[in-house]
Amino acid sequence: MSPSDIEPPVDPLDEQLTAYLDGELPPEEARALEQRLARDVTVRERLRELAGAWDMLDNLPRSTVDENFAKTTVAMVAVAAKQDLVDLQKTAPRQQRRQWLTRVMAIAASLILGYVGFTWLWPNPNKQLLSNLSLIENWQLYQEADSIEFLNQLDRAGLFWSENTTNPDHLAMLVPPTMEERTLYVNQLSESQRNELRRKQETFEKLEPAEQKKLRELDHVLQTAPNSARMLEILRNYHNWLNARSPLEIADVRKLPADQRIDKIRELQLRDEEQWVKQYRFPSHMAEDFRRVYTWLTDLALQREQEILANAPEQQRAMIERQPVESRKRLLLKTWIDQEFAKRRSEGFEILTEEQRRELKNASPERARYLIGQFMRNIPAAQRKPMLPVTEAELEDLLKRLTDNARTILKPYQVPAGATDAERARLTSERNAKIWEWIGDSMRFAFYSRGFVSDREIQDYFAGLSDETKKELALLSPEEWKRELRNRYLGEQGGFGGGWWGGRPWSRDGSGRDDGPRPPGLQPDGPPPGPPREGGFKDGGFKEGGFKNGGKGPNGKGPKGPPPNNPPPPPEGGFRGPPSNGPNAPSKEPSPNPVPRPTNP
């Protein structure tokens, strides 16, 4: 018992004065006390002292908790919620359990502020694993990198970074900072993901100490770098691209010192270009012009930077402003297109049928762009409104940048001396239609030129599909699902709304183009020759390497993709494009295994 527990009785006057100060005296008592105060200076003095001491309590600070408090509290409650579920499953009838399952999962999932999924507790994720979580998850990627400087070189060269990634600065690839959050993260992985993590840990521990040390150091550098998320994204994309190549190519790249690897990568990408130019039906003699058109487009976007940024939401603006110049130009171009597209979409298209408008209304932005492109194919190219507000002067600037080859193709549209106004207008309109066709093609060309599709793009694309589409995809095996999704994404996104631009439609109906001689083997009205390769060309980066781990990428994160044991939902309204033996169809060819490093499991 503390000293203050043994006390004399309370002074009734003090009690009354205290209650008076607290506003707790009944009115008649308060009036009587006030009269006493008015006439008795000692009582007034006593009141003043009691009030004075009380007022000094205002010096006590008020506490403010930090965000870790909220996070750990939520984590505790989520664990309690989970335990409720376990208990309930033991005792409750099935019907009630099912109802509860949804609600408890919802409360836990939404409480965990961004972590989704809700699986069984991993009883003892050992401390070592949790402390080294980023290392264990990523060490196989790190083996490709050597150093963060190599990744910076890739970045400066504009390689393996996709401006099509939604919100690229906020990738859920970084490991949670606190042990509580990591425990929570690990606990919500599926059984197979946890097994994979354990395997990675076991394999890592078998590496030579020197190798472990090197990887540990790289992990530390990468996790603490200011551009950590970007570096890891580039690393992952590079890793996926490399491991999709032939064994010889992989060995050739790996044996080179970092500073020579960039040239080798470019050489391989150019070699790939030959193949995908054929596959996606780009006129091969136009490759250089497509590159120049794309550069012109990104320059235009950069010139309009202020206006584009002014119309962009704050977060997007901040993200664009942070990018190095090449990425920024590409992002600005994408944003500009999205903004122009949104204007048109909201204006409505008089040429659409009710059904088309309905489909468009429910589509995600990317899918909507694709659909518009399809719908627009019914309009003659010369009558389509340009997608971007480009001035005549800017078009003239583009003409100056093109090669002789392109200028030769445009010769028939030159306005002869003495042409009437009507002829001038017609020729200019047809010339511009051709140029807009090239603009569309150049954007597709740039897309395929990257040589890879990031896991995140696939995840974002999948998330934007309709529920019906997702359900249909669920009927496929995980491997087929991956391939199908990638094919569809490449087909749709690479098109940038193919027909709308006047560019070559993805559906490969072989419709007439007059850009010069066709590649051999392609007939004007026939189907494409031979069975399609799955998802891309033989040794290109669009293969399995881009999508290894059940839709979640090597880090095993990314709740947007479906977990491998949860078949994902399906395509909307059937496939656009060619029939079942066309390139969009799931291929039955087994995918080649990536070349293992000696230490891979």
Binding site: V10, D22, A53, W54, L57, F69, V74, M76, I107
Partner: protein, 212 residues
């Protein structure tokens, strides 16, 4: 004794936090999060001054929220939400104090060198009498003096003072929170004020003010 329908209706109507808690009862996670965000600072403030340790206060506050979650299904609004919450807090703090006492951890032992612990009354009386501030105190020194003064109160007095001061609770609300009668609270607060006056008198006599 059950709560009448009219009481439930009254608090549901007049107290938005009661309405949030009713949503928590229906497993609305966002409502739980909102309540947590509204009360976390207030709870930790009171608990920190109660137990004298920030870490312990945060642990106790988390216990309180966990109890709020666990008891959500049986929640019935028979009082303001804050009253109910601080009742839980009072119980959690008391339980904690009892278990700490059983483990022979004495929070209230005198140790003038450790600002986390609360000195006994004798020590403080000595300290107060010997420490006649000859100058205006700065804010930190004043805070330390007041914290020390709070520490001279017993736990019930301290809780009543903190609820009155920081939560602006009436005697009736404090009584409900601490499961005492309003008359008992009146005595507690009166005694507390008297003790505070005694300990902080040197600062009052000198007209010492906090210098910014």
């Amino acid at each position: 004794m059950g709560i009448s329908d009219s009481t439930i209706a009254r608090y549901t109507l007049h107290d938005p936090d009661v309405r949030l808690m009713l949503q928590v009862r229906d497993d609305d996670a966002a409502a739980f999060e909102e309540l947590m965000l509204r009360y976390q600072d207030r709870l930790v403030t009171v608990l920190e001054h109660l137990v004298g340790s920030r870490d312990t206060a945060e642990d106790l506050a988390q216990d309180v929220f966990l109890r709020v979650y666990r008891s959500r299904k049986s929640y019935q609004p028979g009082a303001k939400f804050s009253t109910w919450l601080f009742t839980i807090a009072n119980n959690v703090a008391s339980n904690s104090r009892r278990s700490r006492s059983r483990r022979k951890e004495v929070i209230l032992e005198s140790n003038p060198n450790n600002s986390q612990e609360m000195p006994g009354l004798e020590q403080m009386a000595v300290a107060a009498s010997s420490f006649i501030p000859a100058r205006r105190l700065d804010k930190e020194e004043m805070q330390a003096a007041v914290r020390t003064a709070i520490g001279t109160l017993n736990e019930r007095q301290r809780m009543a003072v903190l609820l009155n001061k920081f939560e602006n609770m009436s005697y009736e609300e404090i009584a409900e929170t601490m499961e005492l009668t309003p008359k008992a609270i009146k005595s507690l607060l009166s005694r507390a004020r008297g003790n505070l006056r005694a300990v902080l008198e040197p600062y009052l006599e000198r007209g010492t003010a906090v210098s910014e």
